[in-house]
């Protein structure tokens, strides 16, 4: 970890409007994403990729294979991959939640929105202007920029929870009425007694996540190039490097 970082509770801050309350020096790097966060991020990304592809195929299967049914398990494998990825995603998400308690303050960011903070709203506004080409320069952010933060909270945090709940509810139908999945998630069918409705919701979730992923990857690449700080590298090494020494 190079460069000096100081945490500072004073009213003036340099370099950030994301409430991290951290000041930095020129060219400083800050250790933002601890290993569990990074590992979770990439495992999650991988699972999501598998889930999107297999999930889509579950809704719209590939052309039929020929020959005896007993000789094939094509759709079975697609579904198996989906379930496997879904379970891995769930386990890592639970680990990620655990880390929200154990990790640094940035580990908590995606689990809540600071609605009450004027500074944060200022950041939302500024970041929106930046994406609308209304300002020449973005602000600097130690962790997620406020727009990304909003998107992550709704589509990944809540999105994952929704997909896990509906996914396991659907899985419980395969596992049977007496399975632990049914005991834990069967209540979903009290809310939506027709499991076709649960599928429709789960399926709509796919598109929410696809949409997020498109925006997210684009933003990550763009900000890697355009912003005043590192992005993708940060999610790999955990360290954020700022490229200039100016305030915010």
């Amino acid at each position: 970890m190079s460069g000096a970082t100081r945490t500072n509770g004073s009213s003036r801050f340099r370099g950030v409007v994301d409430l991290a309350g951290v000041q930095t020096d020129r060219g400083a790097t800050i250790y933002v994403y601890e290993a569990p966060v990074r590992v979770w991020h990439w495992v999650n990304a991988l699972c999501v990729a598998v889930l999107i592809v297999t999930g889509y195929l579950i809704g719209a299967p590939p052309p039929s294979v020929t020959g005896e049914a007993s000789a094939h398990f094509q759709f079975g494998y697609i579904r198996f991959a989906h379930f496997a990825a879904g379970q891995v995603l769930t386990v890592f998400f639970m680990m990620r939640i655990y880390w929200a308690f154990m990790g640094n303050r940035h580990a908590r960011q995606i689990f809540y929105l600071p609605f009450w903070s004027a500074t944060w709203w200022k950041g939302v506004w500024w970041e929106a202007k930046w994406y609308l080409f209304l300002t020449a320069e973005p602000k600097k952010y130690v962790a997620h920029n406020p727009l990304a933060h909003i998107a992550m909270f709704f589509t990944v945090t809540l999105g994952n929870i929704g997909m896990i709940i509906t996914g396991f509810a659907l899985y419980s139908e395969d596992a049977g009425r007496d399975s632990w999945q049914a005991r834990l998630f069967g209540w979903v069918f009290t809310l939506f007694p027709n499991s076709q409705d649960v599928r429709t919701l789960h399926h709509l979730g796919l598109w929410v996540i696809v949409t997020f992923t498109i925006l997210h990857i684009y933003a990550a690449v763009r900000e890697e190039i355009m912003s005043r700080q590192t992005m993708i590298a940060t999610m790999i090494s955990g360290e954020r490097q700022f490229r200039d020494d100016r305030d915010d």
């Binding site: 889509y56 299967p61 049914a69 398990f73 759709f75 009425r177 027709n194 076709q196 796919l206 949409t211």
Partner: protein, 356 residues
Amino acid sequence: MAQATETFYEVIRRQGITRRSFTRFCSLTAASLGLAPAAAPRIAHALETKPRLPIIWMHGLECTCCSESFIRSAHPLAKDVVLSMISLDYDDTLMAAAGHQAEAILDDIRTKYKGGYVLAVEGNPPLNEDGMYCIDGGKPFVEKLKAMAADSLAVVAWGSCASWGCVQAAKPNPTQAVPIDRVIRDKPVIKVPGCPPIAEVMTGVISYITTFGRLPELDRQGRPKMFYSQRIHDKCYRRASFDAGQFVEEWDDEGARKGYCLYKMGCRGPTTYNACSTVRWNDGVSFPIQSGHGCIGCSEQGFWDNGPFYDRLSNVRQFGIEANADRVGGVVAGVVAAGVVAHAAVTAVTRLTKKR
């Protein structure tokens, strides 16, 4: 046929039910009816002195196909159910009496067998227009339904109409037809959904009650677990093709002739709880999938609004759009992707022009 003079109580005793569990049944029944404990002996008396369990079968808004299904029962035969198991004291479709004579039976049963008869309901009550979309004896059906439910031992909801609302409750539900448990709040309601339910499932539920002297165990949604805890898909004989990835792609294609899975033709087997793939229909002859058509989910709540039936994905009808999840999501994602490309282009241009 000496049994014909046996009472309901004697029948269940002969089937090995103890006196204790019989009285327990009666007091549990009384309790579940919200009756005073003193009512238990009365229920017991009714069942002890009568050979057959009285059943009142009422019809609301419906198509009578639940009755039609019932009379198809092969084991037990419908005639044996009616002659030896139950006393079908009122059923608009089959009873000999009409008009005042029919109405009089309802009053009579209500008073004589208070808490000791089963109310079976086919169809459902409409609530719009003060209930006058279904008039019975000059009055709203819903009134008669509530009155007869109030003094019954338990209520059986035949079919998807009584259980969920069914076709008349499909959007826009012009009569505001509601499932019967929306108006019968204080009685155990046994839902036997299906449009119609399988005959042997119907007679199975009845004979379960008369054989074991208790109401069947119900699932979270009020359906007898014994018939509704597995999906069509779980026991479908085409499941091997589903797992293999062999689907009917078009009607009457090679796959259809070979009996491939109907998933791509919209089969709702994976989301439908019913006994069709196990019990099958009409004495086990076939069931929808075996005869080449997907399941349309006829035992599920709101299945009419989960169409179109020939698409795997149901239409979403919100915010004035009507399309399936892939079409809605595809458009959203497509627009976003196009936006991203445009955004990237503008970014590149601004960057280049600024650099100069």
